[in-house]
């Protein structure tokens, strides 16, 4: 991975710094596809027994009916397991996750959030996340932890009954799973809008710089 270039100030002047090393770009796009499958098949499963007084239109659900949705959901699950393992392992061992996301200072969050709302938030240097980005990325990581724990609890409420208990039982886990999905989808919408507003960031996630 090109961490040398990423931090080297002199190199930056010559060639644009590597914003995203190759492993991040690959896992990002694998993740993007897998998340879309998980969400659309999850909505299909939800529709079989809606937890809240609404259902998702069939045009945005995957699988055709409950069994199809379940087959997709429990297949894409493995893609996320492998992909997430690679991403977290390399991210933690290389220290990139920590460097990119921490520290988060409340004052900077307030300042950058205000700037974001008034359209004055700059993305001049894509290698440095602003405080709003840090909060958003850390938040979606926490939602991911919640959705994995509640998902395991729903899949195995007997074998992993401690995880189910942590979510307030089987029925509690349904709510946690739905809530975490909502957080991830809201993040995803904002994330895509921001990427389109700052096309350089989209290019960086494809070409690396």
């Amino acid at each position: 991975m090109s961490n040398v270039v990423e931090t080297g100030a002199e190199a930056k002047a010559v060639v644009p710094a590597v914003v995203h090393p190759l492993y991040v770009r690959i896992t990002h796009w694998v993740n993007a596809v897998a998340i879309l499958i998980m969400v659309s098949s999850g909505w299909q499963i939800y529709n079989a027994s809606p937890l809240y007084p609404f259902t998702f239109p069939s045009s945005v659900t995957l699988g055709g009916w409950l069994a199809g949705g379940l087959l997709w959901h429990f297949a894409a699950m493995w893609v996320l397991v492998v992909n997430g393992f690679v991403y977290l392992t390399v991210g933690l061992v290389s220290g990139r996750l920590r460097r990119r996301l921490l520290p988060i200072r409340p004052r900077e969050v307030m300042r950058d959030f205000g700037a974001a709302l008034t359209g004055r938030l700059r993305h001049a240097d894509l290698t440095v996340y602003n405080a709003v980005q840090k909060v958003a990325y850390l938040g979606v990581l926490l939602a991911t932890i919640a959705i994995v724990i509640s998902g395991l609890a729903l899949w195995k409420p007997v074998q992993l009954k401690e995880l189910a208990a942590l979510c307030g039982g089987y029925e509690g886990a349904r709510h946690v799973h739905f809530f975490a999905m909502t957080v991830i989808v809201v993040f995803l919408v904002i994330h895509v809008v921001m990427a389109l507003l700052v096309p350089r960031s989209l290019r960086a996630m494809i070409r690396g710089r």
């Binding site: 027994s49 937890l51 945005v60 995957l62 699988g63 997709w72």
Partner: protein, 258 residues
């Protein structure tokens, strides 16, 4: 509709309405995976020919078989499903089947026989008096439906493990298959059959099992999803070959362990 969507012999196709309608695939759609905007979006993203629904379905079923394997390894034979106090019982307990409630089969209790077959020593059929005379156990556990909802109920009956021992079943066989009077069927792995909470249920909530909950005999497995808890059971077979089941053949994961 695919041939496998035909109701099994003995089941009136007209019964496949009502509650089941929301579960069954759209009949106008030959392949249950085809169609839907998100599938098109996926095809664009991945470049895969997902429009070829047959191969996608085949691949997904392979993963489902892998998931059977994973779940069998996750299953702990001594790990018990949570039990609940009487106050936690869901009342009224929901009815759910592939037919509407009024179409549940009427079974004559005097003529009822449980046929036992396969890798067992004693193949004499059982009548209801004989089954009721066996030692009974009661459990208050949560039934979790593949649809997502759950309900706590109280079931009383004979531990399946004790019954299998009594009929001299080969406990090293792979599967136990159940057939039901309305044409339903399901099969389970032997470790699940031998689980201490797996029960041949004769009573629900202290009363003789009502028709809608599977009179006269239901298999209650709190370590499996609800559709693997067959009602109106008339046949039990201990086997080494895979036989699938009514919903399993239509795409639900076979192991479906909790």
């Amino acid at each position: 509709m695919r041939s496998s969507h035909k109701p099994p012999p003995g089941v009136d196709a007209k019964l496949l309405v009502g509650d089941a309608a929301k579960l069954l695939p759209n009949p106008s759609r030959r392949l249950f995976l085809r169609g839907g905007a998100s599938v098109g979006a996926l095809a664009m993203l991945t470049g895969c020919d997902i429009a070829d629904g047959l191969s996608a379905e085949r691949a997904l079923r392979k993963v489902s078989e892998f998931n059977d394997w994973v779940q069998a390894r996750l299953f702990c034979p001594r790990r018990l499903a949570p039990t609940y106090p009487e106050t936690a019982i869901t009342r009224p307990f929901p009815f759910n089947a592939f037919y509407p409630e009024g179409a549940a089969p009427d079974i004559d209790e005097d003529r009822y026989r449980l046929i036992v077959d396969g890798l067992i020593q004693n193949k004499l059929p059982w009548n209801l008096d004989q089954l009721h005379a066996l030692p009974q156990e009661t459990q208050i556990t949560r039934l979790i439906c593949v649809e997502g909802w759950s309900a706590v109920g109280k079931w009383t009956g004979v531990p399946l493990k004790e019954f299998l021992k009594r009929i001299g079943a080969d406990l090293t066989a792979k599967y136990v298959h159940f057939t039901c009077s309305e044409g339903y069927s399901s099969s389970i792995d032997m470790p699940a059959a031998l689980h201490p909470q797996t029960q041949m249920t004769l009573k629900f909530d202290g009363e003789i099992l009502p028709t809608k909950f599977g009179f006269p005999l239901r298999i209650r497995i709190p370590t499996k999803l609800g559709f693997k808890n067959p009602k109106h059971v008339i046949g039990l077979a201990v086997l080494n070959n895979y036989t699938g089941g009514y919903w399993e053949d239509r795409g639900y994961n076979w192991f479906s362990g909790l």
